[in-house]
Every structure is written in C-alpha cells, then in structure tokens.
C-alpha cells in the first residue's frame, strides 16, 4: 500500500511565477486494486503520479510504502514499511526500478530502435544478464500479442500496438505497482475498453494499478475500485475504500 500524508509540490518557490501543483494531498492506494485519479488537465495528476512513482520529491509531506518485499537497507528492523520522502535519488531509483512500472501519456518510446529493444531498456542498468531479460521480454510480447512486431521500429506501429508495447515495457522488471498517466489519450473508445480489460487482467495477476485520467471510459469503468477526484492540486472527493 502507498500512503500519502500532506503532500505538497511547489514549483519556482520564492519567485514571481511560483506555482503549487499539488496541495496537501493525503490518501492511500490499496494493494492489488485499481485506483483512478480523476481530474481535468492542470489538476496536478501528473505531478502527483511523479511523486508517488519516486520520480520527483514533494516539497513537503510524507510518503510511505507498506508491504515492500524488497530487502531495502533503510527499513526499520522487523517492519515492512519504508518512508520514501527524503531518500536520495539513488535509493528512490532502486525502489522505482523494483516496485513501479510506468505507462506514459505519449507512450515515450525511443525512436530509431526496435520494439524489443524499447521493451528491454528498463532492464539494462539493473545488472541482470541480457539473456534473461531478453527471454522475459519476448514472452511478454507474445502474451500481449505483439511479438510479430518485435523487430520493427516503433514509428511503424498503430496507437493500440504502441499502447501494448508501453505496457510490456512497464512490466519488464516485474514491478508490483503499475502507474499509467492518461493511457487512453490517444486511443479510440474500443481500444480504451481493451485497455481497461488489460488493466483488470493485471489486477488479477496481483498488480496494483494507479491510473490518472479524465477519460469517462476509464473513470466510469466497473473494474475501478477507488476514484480520487483532484481539482487544482487538492483532493475534492473520493469514493471507494480509502
């Protein structure tokens, strides 16, 4: 479970263009559930995702990760929780690599290299043997039915196929939490529904999912367990178990 307490993120503090993206947000993300952050653009969803996903640090506030299986040296003895605020980038990264997988709004795939190489990229700096993660990548591509595009450049794929490549890349290091930022922004409604089916499937495999979206297909989907409404960086309301 991820617990947020009083998270605030301010950019350019002390300057005339000071801007608060996230304002005193507190809630919890349940494990093996699908949580959706709903809100229009500018509501702070992306900043909040970055903070939860250990990509950015909050200006104030605290975040706890509970039930973290990885043997991290900065846990209190006997406890299974870690506070990740204030950790240096190196350790944030270790947690991010082992715990989180990301699916970005624009997919963020590297141009000029093949689908297979794109999918393997997150595993390169982990020190794992290449043969191992390559085999895993191929298996995942087959699971998501895009193995036939493995050798192709990403520029040649359709929106739905790119979506699945992004999902496979997010899964390559076998994370327990998947974060998706506006995953259906470039998809038609059929593909958006397909995406939610995949999300449900991943939940069934034991993953926790956190999705930021203002797409009704996502927000109103039956598979969603918790919905958190964000406006101007603050939680307006939430429904579902907190």
């Amino acid at each position: 479970m991820i617990e947020l307490s009083g998270i605030t993120k301010t950019f350019n503090s002390g300057q005339p263009n000071q801007f608060t993206a996230v304002n005193n947000v507190s809630f919890a993300i349940e494990p093996q559930r699908i949580t959706v952050l709903k809100g229009p653009s500018g509501s702070g969803k992306t900043s909040l995702l970055a903070i939860i996903g250990c990509m950015a640090r909050p200006t104030t506030g605290r975040i706890f990760l509970h039930g973290v299986a990885a043997a991290l040296p900065f846990r209190a003895e006997g406890s299974d929780s870690v506070e990740i605020t204030g950790l240096p980038e190196r350790f944030l990264n270790e947690i991010r690599r082992s715990t989180f997988g990301f699916i970005f709004q624009q997919f963020n795939l590297v141009k000029g290299i093949s689908v297979l190489e794109n999918v393997m990229l997150p595993a390169y700096p982990t020190g794992e043997a290449r043969t191992d993660f390559r085999a895993r990548a191929v298996k995942l591509l087959e699971q998501f039915d895009i193995a036939r595009h493995a050798g192709q450049r990403t520029e040649l794929l359709s929106g739905g196929e790119l979506q699945r490549v992004a999902i496979v890349r997010a899964l390559i290091n076998n994370p327990s939490i998947i974060i998706a930022d506006e995953p259906t922004a470039h998809l038609d409604s059929r593909l958006s529904h397909d995406f939610m089916s995949i999300v449900d499937q991943l939940k069934g495999e034991g993953k926790t999912l956190l999705i930021a979206s203002h797409d009704p297909v996502v927000c109103d989907s039956a598979v969603v367990d918790t919905l958190v409404d964000l406006r101007d960086g603050a939680v307006v309301q939430s429904r579902g178990p907190l």
């Binding site: 503090s13 200006t59 104030t60 040296p73 900065f74 204030g86 950790l87 240096p88």
Partner: protein
C-alpha cells in the same frame, strides 16, 4: 622552460586538475553550507545533482593524478640527457628545488584522492548521505594541495634549462651526499631489512585478524600506512640494489625503465594500492556506528583488507624473489 611535448602535456593536465578540483571544491563549499536532505527544495535537488558531477570529477582527477605521476617520472627520465651529470630521472629532479617536492606532493595527492574516493563510495551507499559534510570538508583540504602541486610543477619546469650541471644518481643517492634521499640510502641495510619484514608480518597478522574477527581496524590501518613508509624507504635502502645487482645504485626511478622490465610499475602499484586501501580502513573506522552505514562500512572494510593484504603480499613476494635469485649478496 623546455618546450617538450611531454612537459606541455603535464602542464596541461596540472591546469585541468587544478581547474576541475577548484570547481568541485566550490560546489563542495555550497554543499557544506546549504545541504538539507529532508528538504525537497530546488536548491537541495540541485545540490544532490551536483554530487554526481563532483564524484565524476574526483574519479577523473584520481586517474589523471596516477597517470601524470608516472608520466612525470618518465619525463624526468627522458629529459635527463639534457642535463650534464644527470644519469636518470633522479638527476633531472634535482635540477632545481621544486623537482622532488612536486613528486612527493603528487604521491601524497594521489593517496589522498584515493582515500577520498573510498569515503565517497561509502557515503553513496548510505541512504541519508551520512558522510557528506565530512567528505566535502576533506575535499576542501585536498583542493589546495592539488593547486599547490600544479604551482610547484610549473615552477619546476619553468626553472629547468638544458646544460645545467646537476648531481647524478651516484652522488645524489650515494652514501656521502647530504640530501634527504642520500640519507635514506645510507640507512644500513640489515636494520632496514629487519624493519621491512617485521612491518610486513605485523600488517599481515593484524590484517588477517581484522578480516576474521572484525576487530583491530585502527591497528591494521596504522600498520599498513607505516609499512608503506618503511617499504618506500626500503626501496631506496636495499630493495633496488637487488634489482640493479649493484651495491651502490640506490635510485628508485631506474626500476621504471625498460632495462628492468618496467618492474617498478608493478612494485609501486602494489605499494600505493596497499597504502590507499589500508588507509581507507582507518579513515572509515569512526563511521561504523552511523545508522545508515552499519551494514555497509564493515563489508567495505573487509574488502579493503583483502586488497591491502593482496597488494603487500605481491610486493613482498617480488622483493623476496629478487633477493633470492639476484646475483648480488649484501654483506
């Protein structure tokens, strides 16, 4: 000033090392002043990013310092033909009063930088940057030494002109010369041999004890640093005699020449490696109880202990081998 390409290369490196070192030192000062890991402010993030740069720069400086140390000796060797009376690097360095101080400071800076990098490595393993302030305080000690080294190097090469009569190896390292290196060579070889071997034995025993029991770190570290000094003196006093098979040739630089199979590089690499690793153990001792380093420091110290023991073992084996097979016998 001699416009020799190697001289220009050394001066260039000295400039770069001082420049980069000063740059790192400046940010070190900022880090000491503004560092606050609990804060998520942009200044803190910028400082954290800077630590990567400083680490990279210091790694670079260490590599350049080591390479330029050997290049300096080699250049002094190459230039010796330009000075009447100089038979090898020893004579070139004696041309003006800046030669030997430059060499000694280069050695000191290399050892200092090596130990700093050990501390840096340990600090990076701690999740709350536990040693950061100490680390940058030390950096601010090292940076002026690096700049001083560059100044001395410039002064040395600026004061070097061909055809200057200097003392050659024989008189500089001969028993009767009054200079420092002459005194060391004049140290009688029997006591020096005794000192050398006993310091090696003490280091080995304390090292093995430390590795197995985890106690006696300070003793081991002190022993290894003392061994480094005794070994360096021993090279001058009797070790090089066996390599040269000449009872009067005490020059420590000729070992680096082709005639002796460049054996000097291996000897000095082993010696410096042992000194840095051994010194690192002692420097880390005060931090064993730091919360975030409790598991990290002892593990790293054990690895350093292995490195120290291996390096000194290699050094001793080479010395003993040469003493056994050499045609020279010292009375």
């Amino acid at each position: 000033m001699i416009l020799h390409p190697a001289v220009l290369a050394l001066l260039l490196i000295a400039l770069l090392v001082s420049g980069m070192g000063s740059y790192a030192g400046y940010y070190g000062l900022r880090i000491q002043r503004f560092w606050n890991p609990a804060s998520g402010s942009e200044l803190q993030l910028e400082l954290e990013r800077k630590t990567y740069l400083i680490s990279t720069i210091m790694n670079g400086i260490l590599v350049f310092e080591l390479m330029s140390l050997f290049l300096f000796v080699f250049t002094a060797e190459d230039l010796h033909t330009l000075f009447a009376g100089a038979m090898c690097a020893a004579g070139s360095l004696a041309v003006n009063p800046f030669g030997y101080p430059t060499l000694l400071l280069k050695i000191v800076n290399f050892l200092f930088a090596g130990v700093w990098l050990i501390i840096n490595h340990v600090d990076n393993r701690g999740y709350d940057y536990p040693l950061i302030k100490i680390k940058y305080k030390l950096l601010n000690l090292l940076v002026p030494l690096l700049v001083l080294e560059s100044v001395l190097l410039f002064a040395y090469f600026a004061g070097v002109k061909p055809d200057i009569i200097t003392s050659c190896c024989g008189s500089l390292f001969g028993q009767n010369s009054g200079s420092f290196s002459g005194d060391l060579a004049a140290l009688p070889h029997r006591p020096m041999q005794a000192a050398f071997f006993s310091s090696m034995v003490v280091t080995a025993i304390s090292g093995i004890f430390y590795y197995l029991k985890g106690r006696g770190g300070y003793l081991f570290s002190a022993a290894s640093v003392t061994t480094f000094i005794i070994s360096a003196a021993s090279i001058l006093s009797f070790i090089c005699l066996y390599f040269y098979e000449l009872p009067s040739h005490h020059c420590p630089f000729c070992l680096l020449q082709k005639e002796y199979g460049y054996i000097g590089y291996v000897l000095y690499a082993a010696l410096f490696g042992g000194a840095v690793a051994g010194g690192g153990i002692g420097v880390l001792m005060p931090f064993r109880q730091v919360c975030s380093l409790v598991q990290v420091v002892p593990a790293i110290q054990r690895r350093l202990a292995v490195v120290t023991l291996a390096c000194y073992l290699l050094f001793t084996l080479m010395v003993v081998w040469k003493m056994v097979i050499s045609t020279l016998t010292l009375g």
